[in-house]
């Protein structure tokens, strides 16, 4: 099993586990119909069951002769740029909560073009500024969406 699949399944298991526990506080049903807790509780249980099936399948496949565990390491090294962009985007969104949407977004676009797409710094700045100007014209000036 690849690292990405382990992370995905672990995340989904935590997600459904939290909702399963939360749904225990909701009415499950009455004689006339089902309550708001019926679907989340049952579906969360099914999800945990399906994750279990996939994990067991992967475990059994891993025990077969000739199974290779190197995919996990390879996966991790190639995912580093993505993790960096996710962290940068999260930082930009946090900065947006202070007021301006366009300033952190512009900075993020420049870094993406410059450091991740391999363009020169000046070109990255100019292209990002041009794209932001178009976005500002459409969303803010025309559609009156308060981007700032």
């Amino acid at each position: 099993m690849k690292l990405s699949e382990i992370v995905l399944l672990a995340g989904l298991a935590v997600f459904s586990g939290v909702l399963l526990i939360s749904s225990l506080d909701m009415p499950y049903g009455s004689e006339q119909s089902f309550g708001p807790g019926y679907i989340p509780l049952n579906i969360a249980l099914v999800i945990l069951g399906l994750i279990g099936i996939l994990a067991v399948k992967a475990f059994m496949a891993g025990r077969k002769p000739g199974a290779d565990g190197s995919a996990v390491i390879e996966d991790l090294s190639s995912a580093l740029p993505v993790a960096a962009v996710i962290v940068l985007l999260a930082g930009a969104i946090y900065a947006m909560s202070w007021g301006s949407i366009l300033a952190p977004l512009g900075l993020l676009m420049i870094i993406l073009s410059w450091r991740f797409n391999g363009h020169g710094f000046v070109k990255s700045c100019l292209v990002s500024a041009a794209i932001l100007a178009v976005i500002y014209t459409i969303f803010s000036l025309w559609l009156k969406i308060p981007l700032q």
Partner: protein, 501 residues
């Protein structure tokens, strides 16, 4: 003949220079708004509503319906070019159109979808003109059990979107159902999983698709260091007009999609979504090359596109004849009708028939204008993309961030998009299908509500699903179709070795 006479009356009112210009502009504005991630028909109509104050009623309604139709055309542009669908029906467009774009056939995909949209829209309009009262008189016999079964039928297409691993597809469909349970429960009023105040209204579906498809694709391409080569900007119109083989290949699918889109588009709630997914499932089922689906199949793109646009006039049928809005867009249209002093409902066609027929005539004109304007706009959009292809990651992230922000003017939906972007990236890496997940997110809340309403109607008795003739008919149809599908699959499997020999 009566319908044609009234339509001619509608045209006589609409065919003025002012109205023609208005409809043309409405279509163009709708196309641009529909192409922006996060903005769909509701936003487009809501934006134009203030402009209709003081306009003649017919002109105002032509403006609004023109924008509505235009957003449906525009929605496919970002789906095909940057894999960011703006609404649920456009997801199939992204699934088949984006791989075509990656093959350097973005112009062809856009041209093909414009033609299919035109045919679908026209078919839906013909049904609206000739059969609206008949269709709506049958629609009122559908209750919660029938709607639940229809939603179930839509959800059953998960089997076809599953790919190779059914367990993975089922898992993702269940996760979609769980995600859809956030927020207020409409039956009991109970608020589920509101960990933050923004979650009281649930998770915005558009933020989910912006993240899952738009951001997810960017993250995946960054890791794989994908360099999209779309060539240099070119205005050779041949590149954008579908060739004869593509039209031939898409012809049957377009007709089937048009019929399905019109019939199912009438259903309130998720008519267009169910129609596009069912049409996609149908095309894949009957195709001689099902392995091409998901990799840029022409029939897989054309059929659902026709369904999507056929559902626009379809969704207007219950609005005009019964006063029931089936979507966010038609709900705003309902508000506009009331604002103009009209009385939506069965008496609308009697009391304000002239205005309604003028609006329908305006829709016919808008559909024709939209075909031409969209074909002409394709080179503009494709060349815009070509000119920024080296910076595509930052362009898509910028559009996704601004699109998610514009849903509620808060950063919360950008966080939601980021979370689902990471989920989309992990799903793509680990080869988990997104189709079942997104279909469940759209249809599960409706299915849950109709299911619980049905059980309440039956006072806890499940027999309500077989006691009612229409719901029993739907169940029989589902069983027959399922049985036929399995029999065909077995027959084809038996024939394969024989054919190879």
């Amino acid at each position: 003949m009566d319908a044609l006479t009234q339509l001619a009356g509608g045209f006589s009112e609409v065919l003025t220079v002012y109205n023609i210009l208005l409809i043309f502009l409405a279509g163009m504005i709708g196309t641009v708004v529909g192409a922006l991630p996060g903005l769909g028909p509701s936003a487009g109509i809501a934006l134009m509503l203030p402009l209709t104050f003081g306009m003649p009623h017919a002109s105002g309604l032509c403006l609004l319906t023109g924008v509505y139709m235009g957003t449906m055309y525009g929605g496919r542009i970002t789906s095909i070019l940057i894999n960011t669908p703006g609404d649920a029906p456009a997801i199939i467009t992204a699934m088949e159109g984006y791989p075509m774009m990656l093959r350097g056939q973005g112009g062809l995909a856009l041209g093909l979808s414009a033609f299919s949209s035109f045919i679908g829209g026209f078919f839906g309009l013909a049904v609206l003109i000739f059969f609206a009262p008949v269709v709506s008189s049958y629609a009122i016999y559908l209750g919660a059990p029938e709607y639940f079964l229809l939603m179930l039928l839509g959800l059953s297409t998960i089997v076809l979107l599953a790919g190779d691993n059914m367990v993975k597809a089922l898992l993702m469909a269940c996760v979609g159902v769980l995600v859809s349970t956030f927020g207020s429960d409409y039956i009991s009023g109970h608020i589920r999983f509101a960990f933050t105040p923004e979650l009281i209204e649930g998770i915005d579906f558009v933020a989910i698709i912006i993240g899952l498809y738009g951001l997810g694709e960017v993250f995946y391409n960054l890791e794989k260091r994908v360099r999209i080569d779309l060539g240099k900007p070119s205005f050779n119109i041949r590149e954008y007009i579908p060739p004869a083989y593509a039209i031939k290949e898409s012809g049957g699918a377009t007709v089937r999609g048009s019929i399905l889109g019109t019939v199912i588009g009438i259903l309130p709630g998720a008519g267009a979504t169910v129609a596009t997914f069912l049409e996609y499932a149908l095309e894949r089922r009957i195709s001689r090359k099902p392995e091409e689906f998901g990799k840029g199949a022409i029939a897989g793109l054309a059929g659902p596109e026709a369904s999507n646009n056929a559902s626009v006039p379809g969704s207007l049928i219950p609005l005009i004849t019964l006063g029931i809005p089936g979507s966010g867009g038609t709900a705003i249209m309902l508000g506009a009708l009331i604002m103009f002093g009209m009385q939506p409902g069965p008496l609308l066609m009697i009391k304000s028939g002239d205005v309604v027929w003028a609006m329908i005539a305006g829709l016919v004109l808008a559909n024709i204008f939209l075909l031409f304007s969209n074909v002409l706009l394709i080179p503009v959009f494709v060349n815009l993309l070509r000119s920024v292809q080296g910076h595509l990651a930052s362009v898509v992230i910028a559009l996704c961030v601004v699109g998610a922000f514009s849903l509620a003017y808060s950063t919360f939906n950008i966080w939601v998009a980021l979370v689902f972007g990471v989920l989309g990236y992990l799903m793509k890496k680990a080869d988990y299908p997104t189709g079942p997940f997104i279909l469940a997110v759209v249809l599960a809340p409706l299915a849950e509500n109709y299911f619980r309403q049905s059980i309440m109607l039956g006072q806890g008795d499940w027999a309500i699903f077989i006691d009612r003739p229409i719901s029993l008919g739907i169940i029989i149809a589902m069983v027959v179709l399922g049985g036929l599908g399995m029999a065909t699959k077995r027959f084809m499997k038996r024939r394969e070795p024989a054919a190879r020999a």
